[in-house]
Subunit: 149 residues, 2 copies
């Protein structure tokens, strides 16, 4: 947890950072997404300290992004994405697109996506939900909304 609490700010970026802005959290989410969802698996895959992993998992469960569920009669559980968490992964897909473009270098992207609907390898594209045209940072004006400070 960073020292300052972002969650109080009237800004959806700051609030979202309060949920997954701590170091490791996005990577934990990614791992759970791809099926690495038990404590020791996560710890081994990420090389994260067990203490910090415990903190992150508890926080993500508290925030309703992950759920803990038993998979044995013993006190064993695994972590799974909730609907709220699955939608966060959408954001990670956009993050991946950026990283693939600007940071992957010679080797190209480490991972490819095959879209179920069309069967093609493709990346995610940002469109306006109203008109379907491309929608990027430079294509919009910002207006105060109802929840403005």
């Amino acid at each position: 947890m960073q020292r300052t609490n972002f969650g109080e700010m009237a800004c959806s970026i700051a609030r979202t950072l309060d949920v997954i802005g701590e170091p490791w959290s996005p990577l934990v989410l990614r791992d759970v997404w791809v099926g690495i969802n038990r404590f020791d698996q996560l710890q081994a895959d990420l090389g994260i300290s067990r203490k910090v992993l415990t903190e992150r998992l508890n926080h993500l469960v508290d925030q309703g992004v992950l759920e803990r569920r038993p998979y044995d009669n013993r006190p064993r559980h695994e972590y799974a994405l909730t609907e709220k968490g699955r939608e966060l992964v959408d954001m990670l897909m956009v993050m991946v697109r950026w990283g693939d473009k600007w940071l992957a270098g010679e080797d190209g992207p480490p991972v490819l996506y095959r879209h179920h609907a069309c069967g093609e390898i493709g990346r995610v594209d940002l469109r306006c939900e109203r008109c379907g045209q491309p929608m990027h940072a430079g294509d919009i004006d910002l207006l105060p909304g109802p929840g403005a400070a």
Copy 2:
């Protein structure tokens, strides 16, 4: 900077976190995006410590996400998004969408987007660049890419 270096991992999420994963970085980017782009303005708006702000700005400039440019004959400069940075803001727009939906509460979103192309208030939507159909975390298979470990 978190202790562990994410940049070495064969993962575009980890690499992107190496660029903007530190606390405050996404908020600095947001501020520069909306026109808060001088040192003291940023410091006042965010309430960030001056030391950390210096570190973050240097890092973002080093990474080619921001550029520093003089605005006076004096040693004064302001920060602006590069193309690389502007595309990162696309990711913030998706982050905002998620925060608006899951964290805004009663008051609704603090900010609205008006799309230049259609003039409507709308959010960003994730589509497959190949077929144009919706593309979310559950709609794809992951395959190893050329840059896989």
